[in-house]
């Protein structure tokens, strides 16, 4: 009993538990529909490429996982969310494809500009967006949601302008590779892994993680303790912009085109959701990067499972909403307190009877 309690108290309990739950549903479904019970976990090689539902989850979840890294830091440092990431992804894609194809050209099979320049410019503009958000939040003391609302509206619109309101196709193999495969492994998985690894290493081996948490817990106290709170918040937003840029490049390369209207649509909600699912408080302060990443893949697993169960993509949000509400209600303070009181009452009553 006490071991169970210890387990439920662990920080990673909730995200891991929900992940396992989703997988269990998959196993039950597979048994019920007469497939092999561990269909979800089978990974096979088809045409020299890894294939399977698990790989699919990892692959499709890459963008959200990358975004979750930046979002976790932003939430931790500024107690607010960056709702512009989806738009910034679209802007990055638009910028990158516009440069690679040339303005006004909608379909190319040769670069108008070297690949690194296009990607570099795309990521750079994403960082600039982060800088803008960060400046408003850190130096002008504007609530994060309002500050990022500006780019939420403008980012996609500027992306559309850059692409002249058209879908720009870049049909070059080396560009498509970013969203396709390296050897047998999907490239997005590798990119997401690299981003997560770098973030984890930096946070582990430098004091940055501690600084961010301290600013998130108390901005004023951290400033008095000698930290430049504003600079740290600014840095978090720039990192978030960078992550959005990388995710934008991946999403663009996947469809080798800048479909500015659809790239990263509602992605900010998934990113925020993964942070919340990961057991992080949206009120800032302590963060748990591993939780967010697991949260991101859990969301993708839910989506993939729903598709496998035959739920249409338009109807899937209903289930997503129910899952979200269940998870946040379990985490809610008053609910926790209620159960604590009840178990205490039970203990007292049990004591009296004995």
């Amino acid at each position: 009993m006490s071991n169970l309690k210890k387990l439920t108290k662990m920080r990673l309990f909730l995200p891991v538990f929900s992940m396992i739950l989703v997988m269990a549903i998959n196993v039950v479904y597979d048994i019920a529909s007469g497939n092999a019970p561990f269909n979800f976990f089978t990974i096979s090689l088809n045409n020299g490429v890894l294939y399977g539902r698990l790989i699919d989850v990892l692959n499709r979840g890459s963008e959200v996982a990358i975004l979750a890294v930046g979002m976790t830091l932003v939430v931790s440092a500024s107690a607010g969310t960056d709702i512009s990431v989806g738009s910034v992804m679209s802007l990055t894609g638009g910028m990158c494809c516009m440069l690679l194809a040339g303005y006004g050209v909608t379909n190319v099979s040769e670069y108008a500009m070297p690949l690194w320049a296009g990607i570099g410019a795309g990521v750079l503009i994403a960082c600039v967006c982060g800088l803008f958000n960060g400046f408003l939040v850190a130096y002008m003391n504007i609530q994060p949601m309002v500050a990022t609302l500006i780019l939420w509206s403008a980012g996609r619109a500027v992306g559309l302008l850059l692409c002249n309101s058209q879908i720009v196709y870049v049909r070059v193999a080396s560009f498509q590779k970013i969203g396709a495969y390296v050897g047998a492994i999907p490239t997005p998985i590798l990119i997401a892994a690299a981003v997560v690894a770098i973030a984890a290493l930096v946070l582990r081996f430098t004091a940055l993680g501690t600084y961010i948490q301290s600013v998130g817990i108390n901005k004023k106290a951290s400033r008095i303790a000698g930290l430049s709170s504003a600079k740290i918040i600014l840095l978090c937003y720039v990192i978030c912009g960078l992550c959005a840029g990388i995710a934008g490049i991946v999403a663009t390369s996947r469809i080798y085109s800048a479909d500015t209207n659809n790239i990263g649509l509602n992605m900010e909600l998934d990113a925020i959701l993964s942070v919340a699912l990961g057991g992080n408080s949206l009120g800032g302060g302590k963060f748990n990067l591993a939780g967010s990443i697991i949260g991101a893949y859990t969301i993708q697993a839910i989506t993939t499972t729903l598709y496998a169960l035959g739920v249409s993509s338009a109807q899937a949000p209903v289930f997503k909403a129910i899952v979200v509400i269940l998870i946040v209600v379990i985490q809610a303070e008053p609910v926790k307190e209620y159960f604590k009181k009840r178990s205490a009452k039970k203990a007292v009553e049990g004591g009296v009877q004995a």
């Binding site: 408003l136 609530q143 500006i150 996609r156 500027v158 249409s312 909403a321 509400i325």
Partner: protein
Amino acid sequence: MKKAKLNNNNVLLLITIVLFAAMYLAGCIVYAGKGFTRLQTFLNILIGNAGLISVTCGMTCVMLTGGIDISVGSLVALDCMMMAVGVEKMGMGSPVLMVFILIVGVVFGAVQGFCIAYLEIQPFIVTMAGMFFARGMTAVLSTQQISITSDALFTKLAGTKIEFPFGGYVNTKGILQVPYIRVTVVVALLVVLATFFLLNYTRFGRSIYAVGGNQQSAALMGLDVKKTQLKTYILCSFLTSIGGICFCLNTMNGTVGQATGLEMSAISSAVIGGTLLTGGVGNVFGSLFGVLINGTISSLVQTNGKLISSWANIVTAILLCFFILLQAVFAKVKERNK
């Protein structure tokens, strides 16, 4: 004494109104040849945004308590779909459906409000779940676009023109064109007035401002903070449902993709109108002008004809940025004066 009355909040409202007037005048001068000076152009902005006006009123109330409701766009889509499915697939009458839609709105708001006020979950997360839920339920009802054609009363309501006795002009074919508004505009303006009276002249309205200003002091004054929050979210969803019906009267159909991003239009309109997201400061009339400014921008871009529609978003974003910075400056000045 008079100077004290013109505080920061009134200045923000004044700037919003002046900006709207300036923008509209500029439009009149630049696009005079394209009929921008006609009264009908202005009325069309009202007609096109009637639903949004009602939604923004609800959003303003929620923002005044320091919360946010991003489920409104999806709820509007759900309302339209309920109306469409009810009329076309189930053969129900539109009055019954309207009452049903309003009840759904109240229940929807009550659930969200309960989670926010009594379970103390962040408004953003709760209403995001509400947003997913409503949008998904829309798809569960139907994934196709359903046009509303078979309900006589509804079609009549949508087609009714309330004509003005003045301001008409004779068009190129020699027919007198009389400026008109739709029923939805009347509803929307009534909602604005009702919300204004509710906020300023009732106990509940004053509690909203008090809770938004400072929850702790409101609680110490003996106000029931949680109940006020719950009621505000119910009010917001109720007004959104009214807005949803207006929206439906405008579009006359139900689709899954309807009213996407409406929540952000409502939030940006409220912010442009001088409502602070931190709560406690704001005014419904400001929000009305916020919607009108947004409408004028789209109208200007449309009248130009050569600009692609994303320019409207960019200009709105720039305006939003301007207003947010202005609010920040005001906040700083206020702090210094303390």
